[in-house]
Symmetry: C2
Subunit: 460 residues, 2 copies
């Protein structure tokens, strides 16, 4: 007989205390990208360890070559074992003057629509989300004395810095991290009332290119008309990356891109995602992707190409009649299905080289190259989690690919052979990475209850 | 009977003293764009005034609303009267560490090819060039007591800052500046041995545009594929400005562009300007302009369109998966013949607006709009100056349009009704506006002799 109802009741009882605990965690300034905050990162790791120890789970703070990681392993009532991953580090807080309250002084704020939210840096990304899982574990320990399934915790401190040391750490701790499935709480809900399980992650190829022409900046009065202009060359390269229908023109780019099964497409259509809903909040109104595709396909299941940055020539105030010696752009491709990052990169290089006039050279920097990941739709843990989330929210969770990339999920697959269940309670308006980051109180409370139900379901 | 030979002999005698005088002038740090140097600008104006007074020409330092201008008027033996224009202000000197000797401590340096040059900020642009004219006047005053023709001097101090107060000053001093022709010494020779009279100046339309899409920067993982990317929109706008033959695509752009007469084209061909000569020095090899045109046409007599700067999105080190809220570019058009700046600007605006997707807005800033200017080929002063320069250099001067713009020339035409004879002794390797600016000693000495001859010729 399951202890679930008693555990859920305990979570409701613990509400106030849980917020106090989360606030303590949020006060730690664990900015991982700034070496000045290394001490704060260690403090956050120690805090997580103490938190786990306080509920009777032995934990360790382990060196990684960068900021330390917290690990813990506890067996459960059932034999199934899950690896739970999260990160205690947070984004920088600039620009500070745009925060309504100081980023590391958490408060409960009320939004204009009446929602209560926890405002602080890291509230949604990822401290609040981690704590939904740990609070669920605490309630089990307090009510039952054990967890329904075994859990290995892995809480790292460099996610916002590209998880630089994590793959090597996972490799080194391979045996200690053994599990049947990985759980990650770092994603969003479909909307405020509809949970979501992220079943796919787009891969990425991220390239930087610099077009060089003359060996110095030239005066356009003297050379204009006679000398190659690298900004014009770059503009042509970028303009030619898409055709008039919004498709990427690189030969072979769509190799390995699966067509979404018609029944899935029907499910997506029934979600009724409108442009107004998705784009209206950021001042846009019209989907900008491939013609003839649903907006939801454009942002979830179709590959994309975006220019993330461009610079060249004179960019100060006023007019300067210069022809730049060079111009640069950062260009990224989101990949799906079986698209091969190396093949996409080569096709991009060929596209650029084919458009280089005689007097121009190009230099590339490869920033990222990772394939897409897709969860098997019939995976038993996925089916269990779907039922558990439906019980908590009263509505079936959306199972959907995500537009973003979480590189660690690829590492779990590659190194540990684990599929990852991504369940999170963030919302699109959480302003992660921006001033006034927040996490809905409802996300925090029902998130903890959701994990209690998922742990129970995974034990069956 | 002309005193020319005696005057030329006097110039040769005065060589050493002339260099000493120029060095004194070059030591004054008259950087007009930096308010910290306002005192130095005044000092340079006073220096020019004193210089003119020392040769018996009454001069005044006059307020302009900005840095003062120096004016003087002296009648000559013949009735003809010329307005001589130059500027005493200089460009900033950054980056200071790239100068071989301090910018305001003039020296005679020897280049690797043996040429002797005067190295200092302002040596070529424009203090050295002004002094070629003043030294010629000094020699006349010393030998003859008067100048061959009347001369009004106008030496301003804001040319490097866009001559901001000069048009109003010229307007206010309209009567005092009356003349038959304007003389400007602020241009270059064809090459070290061939003088040049600049008979045309390209006009300019300089526009800055900012494409705006979403009301904030977006995460490409969430919005990539669904949201407009203003960098892509801008790249398309730029790429579409030229066709495959390098012609500008704006409708009506070539209205008013004259075909160069075949005999002029033949003269230009005979100059034998090679890509190697013109482009080799800056690391290029192939003319990049309109197909089927001579390089000399591309840079002198054909209109152009160049992108002078572009910026948008993330331009720091590394990778950031952002979709920018906006992207900007600075785009300029060089105009020739009767191209209408207002019409070109409107065609550009229409080109941009026709390529704006629904969710994008554009904001324009107009930096410049001036028509091209062309000297009548049969103008008597032009014919006289050609003969004088041929006498000094032993080779016929090239008469040619210039790729650059000197806005004051348009003001002289508009306000004073004057055509301007542009004769200068700069060279392409003078590094004006850059570290190690220099002026060839030969330019300085033969420049002064050239002006002596031109003044004599204009008196005939």
């Amino acid at each position: 007989m399951s202890h679930l109802n008693a555990v859920l009741a305990k979570l409701d009882q613990n509400r106030e205390a849980a917020i106090t605990r989360l606030f303590d965690f949020l006060k730690i300034q664990s900015i991982s990208t700034d070496p000045a905050y290394a001490g704060e990162c260690r403090k956050a790791a120690e805090w997580v360890k103490a938190e786990l120890v306080s509920i009777g789970i032995e934990a360790e703070v382990k060196p990684t070559g960068g900021h330390p990681a917290v690990t813990a392993r506890v067996e459960g009532t059932a034999k199934r074992h899950a690896l739970f991953y999260g990160h205690y580090d947070v984004q920088p807080v600039d620009p500070l003057n745009l925060w309504d309250t100081p980023p590391f002084e958490p408060v409960i704020a009320t939004l204009p629509d009446g929602r209560k939210v926890i405002r602080a840096r890291g509230s949604a990304d990822d401290k609040g989300q981690i704590m939904t899982f740990i609070e669920a574990c605490r309630a089990y320990k307090e009510v039952v004395g054990t967890l329904p399934i075994g859990v290995t915790f892995l809480i790292e401190g460099e996610e916002e810095d590209g998880s630089r040391h994590l793959p090597a750490f996972v490799e080194a701790e391979k045996d200690a991290l053994k599990a049947d499935v990985a759980l990650v709480c770092d994603t969003s809900m479909w909307d405020r009332n509809t949970p979501q399980i992220t079943t796919g992650l787009r891969g990425m190829v991220y390239e930087e290119l610099t077009i060089k022409a003359a060996d110095r900046d030239l005066h356009s009065g003297l050379f204009g008309g006679g000398a190659q202009n690298p900004i014009r060359v770059l503009a042509k390269i970028i303009a030619d990356l898409h055709d008039a229908d919004g498709r990427v023109t690189l030969p072979g780019f769509y190799d390995g891109v699966p067509e979404t099964p018609s029944q899935v497409l029907e499910q997506w259509k029934s979600l009724g995602l409108t442009s107004e809903e998705f784009l209206g909040g950021v001042g846009l109104s019209e989907p900008a992707g491939e013609k003839g595709r649903l907006l939801i396909e454009m942002i979830q299941s179709r590959p994309t190409c975006d220019v993330n940055g461009i610079i060249g020539g004179y960019t100060g105030i006023g007019a300067k009649t210069v022809i730049a010696a060079e111009a640069s752009a950062k260009i990224s491709f989101r990949l799906v299905g079986d698209q091969n990052p190396a093949q996409v990169r080569e096709a991009f290089y060929a596209h650029v080289r084919a458009r280089l006039p005689k007097d121009c050279d190009v230099a590339f920097i490869s920033h990222k190259g990772s394939p897409a990941l897709t969860l098997p739709f019939d995976m038993p843990e996925l089916v269990s989690a779907q039922a558990a989330l439906q019980d908590e929210w009263g509505v079936a969770p959306v199972t959907l690919g995500s537009g973003g990339s979480i590189p660690i999920v690829g590492d779990f697959k590659r190194i540990l052979g684990l599929d990852t269940l991504l369940v999170g309670f963030g919302l699109d308006d959480d302003r992660i990475h921006s001033p006034n980051e927040k996490y809905d109180l409802k996300s925090f409370e029902k998130g903890a209850r959701s994990w209690a139900r998922i742990l129970d379901a995974l034990a069956q």
